[in-house]
Symmetry: D2
Amino acid sequence: AKLWGGRFEESVTDAVERFTESISFDKALYKHDIMGSKAHASMLAKQGLITVNDRDSIHEGLSEIERRIESGEFEWRTDREDVHMNIEAALTDLIGEPAKKLHTARSRNDQVMTDFRLWIRDAIDAIGVKIKYLQVSLVKLAIKNEGVIVPGYTHLQRAQPVLLQHLLLAFVEQLERDAGRLLDCRVRLNFCPLGACALAGTGLPIDRFMTSDALEFTAPMRNSIDAVSDRDFVMEFLSANAITAIHLSRLGEEWVLWASEEFGFVTPSDKVSTGSSIMPQKKNPDPMELVRGKSARVVGDLVTLLTLCKGLPLAYNRDLQEDKEPVFDSVKTILGMLEVSAEFAQNITFNRERIQKSLPAGHLDATTLADYLVKKGIPFRTSHDIVGRAVALCVSKSCELQALSVDELKSIDPVFEKDVYEFLGVENAVKKFSSYGSTGSACVASQLDHWVTKLEINKGV
Amino acid sequence: AKLWGGRFEESVTDAVERFTESISFDKALYKHDIMGSKAHASMLAKQGLITVNDRDSIHEGLSEIERRIESGEFEWRTDREDVHMNIEAALTDLIGEPAKKLHTARSRNDQVMTDFRLWIRDAIDAIGVKIKYLQVSLVKLAIKNEGVIVPGYTHLQRAQPVLLQHLLLAFVEQLERDAGRLLDCRVRLNFCPLGACALAGTGLPIDRFMTSDALEFTAPMRNSIDAVSDRDFVMEFLSANAITAIHLSRLGEEWVLWASEEFGFVTPSDKVSTGSSIMPQKKNPDPMELVRGKSARVVGDLVTLLTLCKGLPLAYNRDLQEDKEPVFDSVKTILGMLEVSAEFAQNITFNRERIQKSLPAGHLDATTLADYLVKKGIPFRTSHDIVGRAVALCVSKSCELQALSVDELKSIDPVFEKDVYEFLGVENAVKKFSSYGSTGSACVASQLDHWVTKLEINKGV
Amino acid sequence: AKLWGGRFEESVTDAVERFTESISFDKALYKHDIMGSKAHASMLAKQGLITVNDRDSIHEGLSEIERRIESGEFEWRTDREDVHMNIEAALTDLIGEPAKKLHTARSRNDQVMTDFRLWIRDAIDAIGVKIKYLQVSLVKLAIKNEGVIVPGYTHLQRAQPVLLQHLLLAFVEQLERDAGRLLDCRVRLNFCPLGACALAGTGLPIDRFMTSDALEFTAPMRNSIDAVSDRDFVMEFLSANAITAIHLSRLGEEWVLWASEEFGFVTPSDKVSTGSSIMPQKKNPDPMELVRGKSARVVGDLVTLLTLCKGLPLAYNRDLQEDKEPVFDSVKTILGMLEVSAEFAQNITFNRERIQKSLPAGHLDATTLADYLVKKGIPFRTSHDIVGRAVALCVSKSCELQALSVDELKSIDPVFEKDVYEFLGVENAVKKFSSYGSTGSACVASQLDHWVTKLEINKGV
Amino acid sequence: AKLWGGRFEESVTDAVERFTESISFDKALYKHDIMGSKAHASMLAKQGLITVNDRDSIHEGLSEIERRIESGEFEWRTDREDVHMNIEAALTDLIGEPAKKLHTARSRNDQVMTDFRLWIRDAIDAIGVKIKYLQVSLVKLAIKNEGVIVPGYTHLQRAQPVLLQHLLLAFVEQLERDAGRLLDCRVRLNFCPLGACALAGTGLPIDRFMTSDALEFTAPMRNSIDAVSDRDFVMEFLSANAITAIHLSRLGEEWVLWASEEFGFVTPSDKVSTGSSIMPQKKNPDPMELVRGKSARVVGDLVTLLTLCKGLPLAYNRDLQEDKEPVFDSVKTILGMLEVSAEFAQNITFNRERIQKSLPAGHLDATTLADYLVKKGIPFRTSHDIVGRAVALCVSKSCELQALSVDELKSIDPVFEKDVYEFLGVENAVKKFSSYGSTGSACVASQLDHWVTKLEINKGV
């Protein structure tokens, strides 16, 4: 019989039991549920609401249950609905009467919020570790590929030459903000709902500050109705994950492009590639395709939460039980995406020669040429126009800017002089960059130093 | 070793294997995978690409594998990646050489699309059955509650009196369109991709019409690249589910309102209610809250698919492996929502007396009064204004329209006569409705007849 | 004063008026609103609810208002809330008393649904025209590029050679299903809500079949509550658009890739390219990037509608006013995406030589080689393995399969003979395809014929 | 001619121009574009890249353009594509040559990011003001309604009695976190992209720290590729808005319920209500329905951004032009939602008597009774069970707990004594709450004090 069965005469139908159960997924909260119950019992004892013996026997019982769960001995029962009832009922089976006192001054409404906040707090920490792992992998990849110049793209058209390191560090920047969002979310959610009970608090003399401290929350939540009814911390967390996932989808797209025959920038090793069941020659960058693809479900999880909470009245509604699976899915997915991206970064080789051979295509030095004219005192808009005409000449001749003679250049505009060749060619062009944050070698080196220090990377390795 | 391992020298890392595997979920396709493989083998034999003995041995092997899967004896292996490889490898273990010929003129790309279309086709049929089940439950509930008048709401304000049957049949209409959308989707997806191979078809002399027929598809798909790369049938299916889910969320909201103390229209039986772990008096309509809430994940699943497919180049990309879990989740959820809603409909009692007692509140007969004035030749806009003033008078007197005397009414406008009382009061008001589709008794009875016939309901039961 | 102001003593605040107005966008419905009102007035006259003179004067007044709107003379007033009230009030200003009778047996609830269904019906027809326009443009592009072989990709890795025509026709197939979804939606929504009034119908003797016929609906809707409260036709329409948009995003991705320096398949003309404000050499395929990007808002519009309708109780709620802007945005966006994609198709040139030169890369003939072995009686799995080793040999020698000598091939497996060279090389490989729907020339020609006939294309043009 | 037209020979088609233009919406950025250009010009002059005279003439010209825009004299031209080109071209028309130098060491890519970050920064500040306005309105409403007890709900079933103030403050808490999320977003986005140019920085001797300071950014962004390609600040901002919108949708739902005949808690004044075009008696809480409904588009806007950015390669892609309209829509919508909610709060009256009369229904004191038993030493689970049976007795007798005699209570469990009546009845029940954050009077008063101080509310008003 359900623990709330006092005034009920009939059991729910099988279909309803199956439909409303949550034990199949919320058992993932067991560790935090037990942690919360222990803190609660300690507080009840301190406040004289249960005896010290009760408390000890509850603590021991819960430890035993935790052991059984982790060793796989514990039997999860659907008829006991959820993780809270399963553990409480098992505790009653184990220690008898004292277990019946554990739910004093507590409701599942505040209990589950406590568990869930603790769980997400840990998840944030775990994601943070993996973000750093990917950042380190990217920085190490950058270190390994010092001096490699690649085309920088806008509109997927070749735009300007950039250092590969510079490109890779752009992703490191993004990841740093991803971590920042998670930390902000962590600070904001780290308040303790325990003691809010069903929605209104309690008249029993509990000490919410004590449980809050024991569970390392910043403080108890100030309003009990808010504590049990809001899920903004979940939405915020899933938003942070969704943004990270979108970042990773872009990394995925980039690397899938780079691994194509057409771009040919990287060769992934066998360790991160798969083959085809029909085409024997194929070697596919599947992990990064899946990183790109799995971003979709992280977005879907966020949409689920937003749609779920839309238009719900106060305080707790059973709809909110649906908050957990999207979170579990989002966390599992993000952790996998980060880990696999890091392993991919560790297992690709840049095809330096092939990249270098392709660099002359696309007039990557055209903007540097415009800067040359600006330095000669030509207004930028006029420079832009002049270079435009020079490029048109190259297109008609199928040659590079570098290959135009001074006379040809002068025929476009007399301002051109011999020194123009110091600005032409991809290597020259890269050398000219000097602004803060630019792709100039010194600027990139300084960025790299920043990250090596910040991420505590041993450059020797 | 992977089946595509020919040119590979190293295995993928554990993290990559975990991240890219699909066997944990795509094993759900086993029955359709086996069905497809049998059809394929028959065709290969007919076309002389394998021997009749090979075919027989493949068929027997596949039947044995199906038996083992269903009895739980089959060992699913993650290192064999997916359902296709698991079954093919098991077949090889079982029957040896002939199994190696099964993948002739086939790729996993067309194979999985065949499986998936077959699976969704079955899912559509199953959902159709449950939609009808809910429709029948609603119609029977309507039959049981003949003559009950309830307030009809707009803006959640009482608007006009309606027959409860009329309200319930509005949901039956919605569900009928939901079923229609699924059927359209079924027709559109029922084309056979088998034989499209990886993306380009094959040079081996296969007969795609034969496999298409054997699997009860309408015809083979006309373009092999389209066959392996598009997922519009999945997006369409998930859209249809999302719309159904939104409909059900509205039913959920309605019934949660009706079950509240404030509305007090229905009492759900214990079979479809749950209690509280802290508040002993609670009896909550949880199943319908969850119906409302679970609509969110069905929407999330759709968003996942749309986001997944956005911006993918032709033809197959590994991202597309992510198409399955949202579908499985959507189907499981929708089936549960429909079933539980039907059971809820079967287990609620309308509180006729309480409803009737509350009907006088809210001036539900005001519009009928305006119609009275229109019948007397007053333009509608003027009538609306006159009745507005009559209502204002009632508000100031805290009474109902019915309670105004003829003199009071005449003081608002002299057109009022004694016959006005035939239009006042909720029962009179309902009687006056006569337009097609309206809440008038005859109109609703005719609607009900339509559904009883269409849904083949035995009214006696 | 508002038309519903009878019992109201104070006006709404400015902020509320601004926030709740819809005239800024729903005026787009004016034509259908007038069409609906004319049909309604004709019916009222036929039923004797207004005089023939009233009807004529209403018709003339509405025609005059339509003329003023289209000539820009009409003043839309925010204090008159919405398109319905603006037109009705203007009609009253224009023709006086008879105008006050127009709203007899009608509410804004059924009126706006009538307008909106008519508007969407027209939008579907307009989108259908543009879909066909894009299909025709793609087919013509295919005709112009007969015989061009391009690499087919899976995982963005070169997989097998395909005819360019085959690729282009894959998109034509997708678009055909997109059109089908819209037609199904059109059939399902084409039922008339007029006469449902606020939610319950009316007691006045209206003829809903007459208005339904006049407005070319299939029939009046059967249930008045359903008629005013459901928005599934909007969700279905936006779903159909979202799926089309995702298809177009994939076309956009494809063409952006093809226009890159790295792929170099196509050169868009100046008519469909834009430049850079800083990089003079750039020529960007912006229209197709925007086609890809704008798919996002079409998805966003769908999510808006789903979220909007989630959990709303019966019948009409003001929330539903929010159904219009996403539809207008979706339609405008889709029409633009289709049109611009068609123009892009008309303004790109395939770089045949460059494509041909790149074809040898990527072992596109490997699968054909496996088919060769199958034809020699080797089981497919073994063939796959053998070819895998041949490819590995090529990779180590940096050569193509074609360049391996018979002896080298025999060293891998003795089954190879001289006739193997008929299967090697991209052109040979394409020639070998013969299955229905495959990329073989005859198969593609037959696909092309299908579309030329179906789309009524004059091949000479 | 376009400003990038140098190498272009033909204009884009009309459809492409219409489709790719952004001036119809990005003109909203004019003020921040001008602000950014002035800072840029000052820096160019300081660095000697333009003369002081050039700078002055640019500054004056830009001021004049700003004046013209604000007075409506400025002509926005679609053929000039966007806000940047419109202003730059107008500047050239106005001041000639110096204007051509303004785009030195700048690209539209970094320019638009600068504008957009500045615009969003201001939007965050504006939303912050409106959040506080709503908080203040809610707190004042709480102050006005001291002592009012309402039923607290879970599952929309009456659960426990709570102070109305407590409920209202729950929303104030939510809004405070909403503001916190926006502030975190503001801190994270407040870095300056100007000088990143197209993607790679520049070789001209610019001072990015100077422009960053002038525009009150924290610092220049460290990586130029990151600066032009990422949109995480937009996604984060839209997420924050979406969460706020969901909170407001819940407030909307709550108040729509409260305004219903059935709940009857509040009467909105005419200033925030609207009527019906057909039902003269209606008075609808439309603003709050629209608040609930408009949350959907704020969610849709977020989904648009996430979908937009998914899978885009580095660096800038034209798709990203689509980032603006969702932001403008989201901001406009949120500002309206907050403002109208505040006005609603200011214009509702709680129906104290009616609320009080309804309080006895629903056994709101049942949990307090369980606490009574706990205080008597009964384990909570047993207490819960005992009270469950007491409630069942009340249900069968159609009475309240308070109405049970001591003997009846004792018949359920002998532990009951006369002092039980101090715990029964809603008023007693509320008095018993004492835990931190609970609905006990002292606890709520202390919450209220917190907010009065924090929001600097003059309690006298």
